[in-house]
Amino acid sequence: MMKKIYLDTNIIVRLIAENNSTQHQQAKKIFMEVEAENRTVYLSLLVINEVLWILSRYYQLKRSVFVSGLIKLFSLKNIKTCEIKKKDLFFLLDKYQKSSYDFTDLYLNHLVGKTGTIISFDKDFDKLKVKRIESF
């Protein structure tokens, strides 16, 4: 059996944010193979979170500029998500695009769901209508 291959942040960032470097060409080749369904790669939420931080804070790009592209990319059949179902990931990314919440907060909110409670000092969670406590 072939060993699982996991995507790292730089491969994704180099594919979309550059257009003529060697790393860009290499990244494109990798994703072309994935799109052609010759290869399967695994994608972690931690990597997605890093991509979002880099694009929004380091490159200072508006969420409306990059989120829909990421959803299209991650929808490639041979990109498999870890920790979360693709349907839920796309729901969270869509929420991320339409709001100013941190992706981590949105994911925690998703984990907490309707029945759980979050313990946090961050009042942002109150806007997400999640039950929040500051002590036990």
Partner: protein
Amino acid sequence: MNIVTVSSQRQITIPKQVLDQLLVSKKDKLLLNIEDSQLVLKPIGKSIVEKLSGSLAEYIPKNKRKTSFKKIMTQTQKIAAKELAQK
């Protein structure tokens, strides 16, 4: 120039290098048309990867192009740490 044969099932095989040259991937759709007694095949759109490739490059400030990934990560982590500590 390539010669292709129409099979008994009316199918033809397009050489890989021809498709690669036009960035046509497996399962892409082609528009088939007759122009002056010639069969013309036009790729419809491009692959998702092709479309996304370098799609954000024009939005990246000049001073942040060609930065090593190590530096990108260090800077991003600094910004993240600062923002998260303010919460």
